[in-house]
C-alpha cells in the first residue's frame, strides 16, 4: 500500500513535476512576492524597503486619477467585448457557409493576431493621425478632419476599434469551431419546419453556441483588461493622459513616478477586479449552456 502510494507520488512528480515547478516559479511566487511588495515602500533606485502596511492601498483609493482610469478600463473592456464578439459571431457565421475563397478570408481576418500589438498600434496610429485626416480634409468629412488620437472621446473609440479588430479574427476561429459542432440535422429539421435565417440563429445556433460564447467573452475580457502594448503604441496615454488603461497607468506609476509599491497595489486591485468579473461571467454563462 505504502509502496503503491510512493510510486504514485513518484509518477506524479515525473509527469507533473515540471509543470508544477514552472507554475510556481512564474505564477505563484511572483504573485505572492508582488503582494508582499505592496506592503512596503520599495523603489528601484534605493533598493531598500520597509513595511508601510496598507498605506499604499490607502493612497490608491484616494487617487482620483486611478479610479477614473479603472472606470475607463471597464468601459473599454465592455465595448471591446461587445464589438469583438458580435463581429466575430457574424463573421464566423458568414464564413461557415462554404462560400468560395472562405479559407483565404478566414486567414485574412485572423492575420491581425499574428502581428504584435506594438506594430499594430503604430500602423493604426499612422492611419488615425495621418491617413484619415488627409481623406477627411480632402472630402470635407468633419469626423475625420482631425486626428482621432488627439481628441479624448475619439481616442477612446480608436482604442476600442483597434482592439476589437484584432480580437475578431481570433474569436471568429473559436466560433467557427463551435458552429461546425452544431448537428446539421437540427438545422435541416428547423428548415423543414419553416424557420427562416433569423429564427435559425436565435433558436438553434445561438443556444448551441453558448459554450463558445463563454470562452470568447472570457478571452476578450481578460485580453481587454490587460491591454498594454496597444495602448502604448496607439495613444501612449494621450491626449494629455486621458487614455491610460489600468495596466498602462500601473507601469507609469511604478516605473516612471518611481512609486513601485503604489503601482503594485494598483496591479493587485486590477487583478481582483478582473478575476471577479471573469469568474462571475463564466459562472453565469455556464448555467446557460444547453445540450443538443
Amino acid at each position: 500500500m505504502v509502496k503503491q502510494k510512493q510510486k504514485n507520488i513518484g509518477t506524479f512528480l515525473f509527469f507533473g513535476g515540471p509543470a508544477v515547478f514552472v507554475f510556481f516559479a512564474v505564477v505563484l511566487v511572483p504573485l505572492a512576492f508582488g503582494f508582499y511588495l505592496t506592503l512596503t515602500n520599495w523603489n528601484m533606485s534605493s533598493g531598500q524597503h520597509r513595511f508601510v502596511w496598507l498605506k499604499n492601498y490607502k493612497q490608491v483609493f484616494s487617487d482620483a486619477s486611478y479610479l477614473s482610469q479603472l472606470w475607463f478600463t471597464l468601459k473599454y473592456a465592455f465595448f471591446s467585448v461587445i464589438f469583438s464578439n458580435a463581429g466575430a459571431f457574424f463573421l464566423g457565421l458568414s464564413l461557415n457557409r462554404g462560400m468560395k475563397g472562405q479559407s483565404v478570408l478566414r486567414t485574412g481576418f485572423f492575420t491581425p493576431n499574428l502581428i504584435g500589438g506594438l506594430v499594430l498600434g503604430y500602423l493604426w496610429q499612422i492611419l488615425f493621425s495621418q491617413v484619415l485626416p488627409y481623406i477627411g480634409r480632402k472630402y470635407g468629412l468633419p469626423l475625420f478632419a482631425t486626428s482621432w488620437l488627439s481628441d479624448t472621446g475619439r481616442a477612446f473609440w480608436a482604442l476600442v476599434i483597434v482592439n476589437s479588430w484584432q480580437l475578431i479574427g481570433y474569436l471568429m476561429i473559436v466560433y467557427i469551431a463551435g458552429f461546425v459542432n452544431i448537428p446539421s440535422d437540427l438545422l435541416e429539421a428547423a428548415e423543414i419546419d419553416g424557420a427562416g435565417g433569423i429564427k435559425k440563429i436565435t433558436s438553434i445556433i445561438l443556444p448551441l453556441s453558448v459554450s463558445s460564447i463563454t470562452i470568447c467573452v472570457f478571452l476578450a475580457l481578460s485580453r481587454s483588461f490587460l491591454t498594454y502594448d496597444l495602448n502604448l503604441a496607439l495613444t501612449n496615454g494621450g491626449p494629455y493622459g486621458s487614455t491610460e488603461l489600468a495596466s498602462f497607468h500601473i507601469v507609469q506609476k511604478a516605473f516612471l513616478s518611481n512609486q513601485y509599491g503604489v503601482g503594485q497595489a494598483e496591479a493587485v486591485i486590477l487583478f481582483i477586479v478582473v478575476a471577479a468579473i471573469a469568474l462571475t461571467q463564466s459562472f453565469l454563462m455556464k448555467k446557460m449552456e444547453v445540450e443538443a
Binding site: F14, M44, S150, G241, F255, S257
Partner: protein
Amino acid sequence: MKRQIFLISGIYLLCIFSFTGCTKSSGSTKSRNSSDKEIKLTFFNTSAEVNNQFSELFDVYHQSHPNVTITLIPTPIGGQQIQQFQSLIASKNPATLANLDIGTIYLYKNKFMDLTSEKDYFENISQQDAVDSALLDGKLIGIPYTVQGYGLLYNKRVVDTALGTTFDPSSIKTRNDLEALFKKISQAGVPPVMIHGANWSVGAHYLTLAYALQSPDVAKDVQFVTDMENGKVDLGKNAIYSGLLDTFDLLKKYNYRKNDPLVADYAKDCLDFASGKVAFFFMGDWVWSQIGSLEGIDREYGIIPVPVSNSPDDYGNSRIPVSEPKLFAIDNSGSTPEQQAAAVDFIKWLLTSAEGQAALVSKMGFNMPYKGVTVKSDNVLSAAVSKYIQSGKTISIGVMTYLPADYYTATGDSMLKYLAGKTDRQSLTNELLAYWESVAAR
C-alpha cells in the same frame, strides 16, 4: 510505455539543457574574459534619434578593438525609456553603458560607477565648466558629451522671404517684437510658428523655463520648486510664469498645428519645418539629426530666445536655455570590473579619437563641449547655439536635474490640455500646483 518514458526523458533532458544554457550565457563573459579577453558591453541609449549612428559607431570601434563588442539597446523617441531602463536594473541585467538624462542618473546615482577619480582627465580635455556642470552632488557620475540649446528655431529662407528683407534675430527682444514679427509673417501668407504637441516639448522644455528663469542660480530655482511643493508659491501671481504663458498664448495663436495641435508626429513636424512650410519651430538644435540628412530641404537656420516679457533687459529675453541634458554613465550594479574598464576606455576613445568625434559631431550632430574637436559640423543649428554660449547668453536649466522623473508627463499633459484649449489658465495653474504638492506627499 517504454516509448513514453523515452519521450519524457528526452523532454527532461531538453529542459535541463535549456536551463544550463541560461546560466552559461550569463556567466560566459566572465569565463571568456580570462581566456581570450573578449568583452561584451551593452549600451542603453535614450538619444533615440541617433540609434543607427550609435550602432554604426560600435561596429567601427569593434574593428579597432576586436575584443570589445558593444550592443545597442535602443529606445523609441518619446517612448517608455525610463521604464525600459528600470526593468533592466530590476532584472539584474543592467546595461554596462547608458546614455541617460541627467535627472535619471541623479535618481539612480548609487547604481552607477563613481568616476570622480577620473575627473582631472576629463577636465583637461573638456571646455571650461563642461565637467563642472555635469557634477551631481559634487561627484562625477556621468560624462558629458553634448551641449544642447533650444528656443525658437527659424528657417532663414522662409523668414527672409516673408519679411522681404534679411531677418535680424537680435531685433526680437520682447514679446511685442515677436508678436509684430509673427503678424508680418502671417500677413505674407506663411504660418509663423509650430509647437510640437508632445508633453516632453511643452512640459520639459517650455514650462521648465518658468522655474529656470526665477534666478540665474540653479540652487534658487530648485528652492522655488521646493516652495511650490510645500504650497508656499502663489504661482498664478508669479510674473515669470505668467509672462511665459503669455508668450505661450502668442505661440498658440499663431500655431501652424492649431487645427489639430496634439498630433505630435516628430518626423513630420521636423520635415515641415525643414521644407519651409512654417517659419519658426519651438525645438532645439537636436532636430538636425532628423533633418540634416534629408534631401531638398533648406540649409540655413537660426535660433532666437523665447521672450517672456516686454522689457528687453529681463533675464532670459536675450538668452537661450542650454544644458548638458544627457550623460554617459557606467553601471556599477551588475557589471564586471573588466566591463567597466572597457566602458571607460570606450568613452575616452569616443571623446578623443577622430572616429569618435566624427560620429558624435558630424553624424549625430552633437555639439561637443571638448577641446581640440577638429571635425567640422554641418549642424548650423548647433553653430547658432554655440554663438550664444560663446557670448555667455545662456540660461542654465540645471533645475531639471532635480525634478522628479514623471514631471514632464504630468506637467506636460496639463500644458497640452491648455494648448488644445480644453482648460483655462487658472485651472492649468491649479493642476500644476496640485502635481507639485502631490510630489511632496510621496
